[in-house]
């Protein structure tokens, strides 16, 4: 029973890890929380549902198409909000508010379109379970874990082996210095939004398959935030660890105590982390103090 829950927790945690990584990528460059990430989660879930439903294509194809859409939507959000604010020299602070409003706006639009209904996919995808020993593992859980491992592998290849990745890491240290190297900072930021949007899209679609598709699914972005703090804000490895830990905590609390109380315990856990280890579990000491 415990192992069963751990498997579940790890697979949910792997989704949080993807969200947290996407969130951190933008945070690292801009030094700001991008709440439109939540909008991309919701769009990822709805796009893939709509495509599967109305274009009658297989669910995996729908998910892939929806990932492309969320990537582009995320890049579009950057173009129409952050870019304009940055050109006016009012970057981060106002973008924080703008991204929050985008999140609220997209949620409101989805509430309007879906009439608040909760829907599930027309065809079963990754349904059923398989057994290892006496463990029953739902295919969706195995699928989520596998897909997030693939996504993280591709991401770390992009970050460490490509020209784009080099530019992103350079810009994360200093936008000014990156510009002096001849890097096109607008293109890099847009690229980062695209990548982060695709990660949110994957997660949104899979969470939609696992649970259901509903307008407030974007609220999972808060889990990404907590994961980032637990792992160490701005630390990609930490984000992955934090995501897994939050996923496990949430699942175990839900299984053994109560699912409704788990957010309160997550908050308590976060307070403990902030008090004892503000730089996060994977972060280096001293750098997070003011």
């Amino acid at each position: 029973m415990l192992f069963q829950q751990i498997v579940n927790g790890i697979s949910v945690g792997s989704m949080y890890a993807l969200l947290a990584v996407g969130f951190s990528l933008v945070y690292n460059i801009l030094g700001i929380a991008n709440f439109s990430h939540g909008a991309m989660i919701a769009l990822g879930a709805f796009f893939s549902y709509w495509i599967a439903r109305y274009l009658a294509v297989p669910v995996p194809v729908a998910i892939l198409a929806s990932i492309a859409f969320t990537g582009l939507s995320s890049a579009l959000v950057e173009l129409v909000t952050l870019r304009i604010l940055r050109k006016r020299g009012q970057g981060s602070l106002y973008f924080f508010i703008a991204s929050l409003t985008v999140f609220n706006l997209v949620t409101a639009v989805l509430v309007y379109i879906s009439r608040g209904n909760i829907v599930s996919y027309p065809r079963a995808f990754l349904s059923g379970t398989f057994t290892i020993g006496n463990l029953y593992i739902p295919w969706i859980d195995a699928g989520m874990l596998l897909i997030s491992i693939v996504c993280l592998a591709v991401l770390s290849y992009v970050m460490f082996k490509t020209r784009f990745g080099l530019a992103v890491r350079a810009a994360s240290f200093s936008i000014k210095a990156a510009q002096l190297m001849g890097m096109d900072i607008d293109a890099i930021i847009q690229g980062v939004f695209f990548v982060s949007g695709t990660l949110a899209g994957v997660t949104g679609a899979l969470l939609g398959v696992k649970y259901a598709v509903y307008p407030y699914i974007g609220n999972f972005v808060y889990m990404a935030l907590f994961a980032c703090v637990v792992g160490g804000l701005g630390n990609l490895t930490g984000a992955v660890l934090g995501g897994l830990l939050i996923g496990l905590l949430e699942t175990l609390v839900s299984a053994y105590i109560s699912s409704a109380i788990s957010p309160a315990l997550t908050f308590a856990f976060l307070v403990v982390i902030l008090l004892l280890r503000p730089q996060g579990l994977a972060g280096r000491a001293t750098e997070e103090k003011i």
């Binding site: 210095a177 510009q179 002096l180 001849g182």
Partner: protein, 236 residues
């Protein structure tokens, strides 16, 4: 030749540069001196296109665009002060970042070899994180990284910041060496004496205006400069 004509930079209500005219002849070193906040860094950043300006800036007779990547491609690179090396990247990756506008693998390798021969210390530390290096090594890395885009004009900001006098002399000697290889240098430096000693010409900026110019020697011997920037006893 780098030529600035009537260049103005303003940040909101503050005017950082006022009608600045300045020339840097090819293959010379020009030193820009002035107090903190005189507009030296703003001038470099205007040339690099990372602060907006009005007026004309041209390199070898062609107007420079305002877009940083295009400026680096036109052969104008800036070496920011040493704390601006990417301390989250390795030394080798820093050099790769410097070669960002260059797509040819062979030329990048060749340039890395060139930088390593100029700064052998960097070769020893190639795979080390730049954040672990000392101030002097960072400065060398910053200059080496600046050379990776094969610039014909190098803008160097405060190379002696945080360095001991001995290291400062060493770094300035390296800049002279780079210049002898045919690279034009516009140097912004706190240490007016040492920079004027290696410079062919110098400009003095005050409150965003050029208030004096001349050869390095002339400025070193000017009583007003001596008093304001070199210190009467000469231990600047």
């Amino acid at each position: 030749m780098l030529e600035l004509k009537k260049v103005n930079v303003r940040y909101g209500a503050i005017q950082a540069l006022k009608d600045v005219n300045l020339r840097v002849e090819r293959q010379t070193i020009v030193a820009l001196i002035g107090a903190n906040g005189a507009g030296k860094s703003s001038l470099l950043n205007a040339v690099s296109g990372i602060v907006p300006y009005t007026g004309e800036i041209s390199w070898n007779g062609k107007l420079l665009p305002h877009h940083p990547p295009a400026i680096v491609r036109a052969g104008v690179a800036q070496v920011p002060e040493g704390r601006q090396v990417f301390s989250n990247l390795t030394v080798y990756e820093n050099l790769l970042a410097g070669a960002y506008v260059n797509w040819s693998k062979q030329r990048i390798e060749k340039n890395i070899e060139r930088v390593f021969s100029l700064f052998p210390r960097l070769k020893e530390r190639a795979s080390q994180s730049a954040g672990t290096m000392s101030g002097g090594e960072r400065q060398m890395l910053a200059i080496g990284r600046g050379l990776m885009s094969e610039p014909s004009l190098l803008l160097i900001d405060e190379p002696s910041l945080g360095l001991s006098p001995i290291l400062t002399t060493e770094v300035l000697a390296l800049i002279q060496q780079v210049n002898e290889q045919g690279v034009t240098v516009l140097l912004v430096e706190q240490n007016a004496r040492k920079s004027l000693e290696i410079a062919h010409r110098g400009y003095v900026l005050q409150n965003g205006k050029v208030v004096m110019e001349g050869t390095g020697r002339e400025l070193l011997n000017d009583p007003a400069i001596q008093e304001a920037y070199l210190g009467v006893s000469g231990c600047a």
